[in-house]
């Protein structure tokens, strides 16, 4: 475990509890976002990691070593540090700024210069910029330097305190891409404090939600969106964002309509037509005795035959596309739209038919996302979910 924080507590002399029993274990290469309202203790917690603040009690270990027993100066040189106000030295060139920690560590000038060139390339800025002063750069460029400066001495852990809070949205996004790249491709570990939920959900491998010094929820962005721990988290995420996130967190089983119109292969064409008429559909899903999806029967196939005693098995299409009940909606929407079909059967892990997703189900999702009404509680009005079948045209089969 790269970083272990256990039972961290920070109490100020005036009795204010800034951090209360904070516990977290961070693996190498993780991207941890601390998020919370102001005064939630997120920055305080982060600043205890490089001993800019000292905990009242509790321990922090890096690679198993208690940081309280380390020299704070050495500790800080081994941890990258990026702050919202950037904190570049205005009287030093960009190169001197990047070389700051390597210089403190006593690297040779050649090695430092080499590293500076490498870092400016990493920041995706021109090499000539090394000779400029921070004041000559835009805010976004300055913070790019701020980010790579934190890596210049091969620091493994990078602490970031609302680093992009003061940047405009477009610049912020490009900086987010930069740090995401550093985490994914260089395997750096980030502890990232933010109050921007989009930023946290976008960057983090795990999000730590804090309120009044306490951890409210620690989980992956997906799980937090799917199961907000309590009302505080729901409010923090925001109703709108929860709804917008539905295609990415809702599974097919949550929006599918159960009990689609079915028929068995050994039944006859007459049975099929009766069922179609009764359910007002133009397509029947063919299942065997074990509920397994084996094909479908379209009205086209039926009308060409005259003998009503023909068994379904002779007429049905065996090639049927389907989605898994556990799949995310975002993925199946793609499929449904690409295939150009009106509906798609839903099967479980053993290919047993469990329901059907129609284009109208998707309309509900899109409607909710745009109009803001939660869709999660909505259940199909009736088990007879034949509406789509009824209006389906010839391309509206479940065929691929």
């Amino acid at each position: 475990m790269l970083l272990e924080m256990s039972h961290l507590r920070k109490e100020y002399p005036n009795g204010k509890m800034a951090v209360d029993d904070f516990n977290l274990e961070v693996d190498r290469g993780e991207f941890i976002c601390f998020i919370g309202t102001s005064g939630s203790g997120k920055t305080t917690t982060m600043r205890m990691i490089n001993r800019m603040l000292h905990q009242t009690s509790g321990t922090i270990k890096i690679n198993g070593h208690d940081i309280a027993k380390m020299d704070p100066v050495k500790l800080r040189r081994s941890i990258g540090y990026v702050i919202q106000s950037i904190g570049l030295m205005p009287h030093m060139t960009i190169q001197e700024n990047i070389e700051l920690v390597p210089k403190l560590l006593g690297w040779s000038p050649e090695k430092r210069a080499q590293q500076a060139h490498k870092m400016i390339a990493l920041a995706q800025l021109p090499d000539e910029m090394l000779q400029r002063y921070p004041g000559e750069l835009s805010g976004g460029q300055q913070q790019r330097i701020g980010v790579v400066r934190a890596l210049a001495a091969d620091q493994e852990i990078i602490l970031m305190d609302e680093p992009f809070g003061a940047l405009d949205p477009i610049t912020r996004e490009s900086l987010q891409d930069l740090v995401k790249h550093l985490q994914e491709d260089l395997g750096k570990t980030f502890i990232f404090v933010t109050h921007d939920m989009d930023e946290a959900l976008n960057l983090a491998t795990r999000v730590v939600i804090m309120s009044q010094g306490k951890q409210v929820q620690v989980d992956t962005p997906e799980n937090i969106l799917r199961h907000p721990a309590n009302e505080f988290v729901t409010n923090l995420i925001g109703e709108e964002r929860l709804i917008r996130a539905q295609p990415n967190i809702l599974t097919v089983s949550q929006i599918m309509k159960p009990h689609p119109a079915t028929i068995h292969p050994e039944q006859t064409l007459a049975d099929a037509i009766d069922t179609m008429h009764e359910r007002r559909v133009d397509t029947l899903l063919v299942i065997d005795q074990t509920q397994k999806l084996v094909g479908y029967l379209d009205i086209d196939d039926v009308s060409r035959k005259t003998d009503v005693q023909t068994p379904v098995s002779q007429l049905m299409n065996h090639e049927v596309s389907y989605v898994q009940a556990k799949a995310l909606i975002g993925d199946s929407v793609q499929r449904l739209l690409k295939l150009g079909v009106k509906n798609i059967p839903v099967v479980n892990a053993t290919k047993q038919l469990v329901g059907i997703v129609t284009r109208t189900s998707l309309v509900d999702i899109v409607y909710d996302a745009l109009r803001g009404a939660p869709a999660t509680d909505e259940q199909p009005a009736s088990p007879i979910n034949a509406n789509i079948h009824a209006v389906a045209n010839h391309e509206g089969s479940a065929d691929a």
Partner: protein
């Protein structure tokens, strides 16, 4: 004019030398004491106001009185004059050092510490270069004060251009008064100009901010 120079020329050079010597030593001592003290004050939670007020009180002691106080302690000559002028030089340097160091952006200080600079490295590499222009402004101000007040040093036998002025006053000789005053003014202007050059040099190159 020419008569004045032919009569007092060599004496004038010697007096300017004395004057500069007294002023320079006093200012140097002022810098040595006030700059570190000013830095230290910014690192202390309490006491800054008290110390700066104290320096301010010292500043309000009339120059003549301060020189008179020095005599029983240091006798007469240049030593008491240097000590008195040193005390006067303290306040502007101390106050500007304190303000200059306080004015360094907290972000820079936070970054300096957070990246692993020691207390000392942060002061030398981050705070001091950034506070340098303000500190230099204080030193310039002190320098002009000290050069002007050094004329009074002649009153307690320290020599300097004040000798001309006091002699002129005693003998009702306006040429002597002017012969002392004008060099003092020129000296003050020259030193101020030179220190201004230094101030520009120590100002960090930041085209934009």
């Amino acid at each position: 004019m020419i008569h004045f120079f032919t009569t007092y020329g060599s004496q004038l050079i010697a007096k300017i030398g004395q004057h500069l010597y007294i002023s320079a030593i006093a200012l140097l001592l002022g810098i040595i004491v006030a700059v570190p003290l000013g830095i230290l004050l910014t690192r202390m939670k309490h006491g800054a106001n008290f110390v700066i007020t104290l320096a301010g009180v010292l500043q309000t002691i009339p120059a003549m009185a301060l020189l008179a106080i020095m005599i029983p302690i240091f006798g007469i000559g240049s030593t008491p004059a240097i000590v008195a002028l040193f005390i006067y030089s303290l306040l502007p340097i101390l106050r500007n050092t304190y303000l200059g160091m306080k004015g360094v952006s907290p972000a820079v200080q936070d970054a300096a510490k957070g990246m692993g600079m020691t207390w000392w490295q942060a002061i030398i590499q981050a705070d001091l270069p950034l506070a340098a222009p303000v500190i230099m402004a204080g030193i310039r101000l002190s320098a002009t004060y000290v050069i002007a007040w050094a004329t009074l040093a002649s009153y307690i036998g320290a020599g300097g251009l004040g000798d001309f002025i006091f002699n002129g006053l005693n003998l009702y000789r306006s040429d002597l008064i002017l012969g002392g005053s004008i060099p003092v003014i020129l000296l003050a202007l020259l030193v101020d100009y030179l220190l201004g050059k230094v101030e520009t040099r120590v100002t960090p190159r930041q085209i934009l901010r």
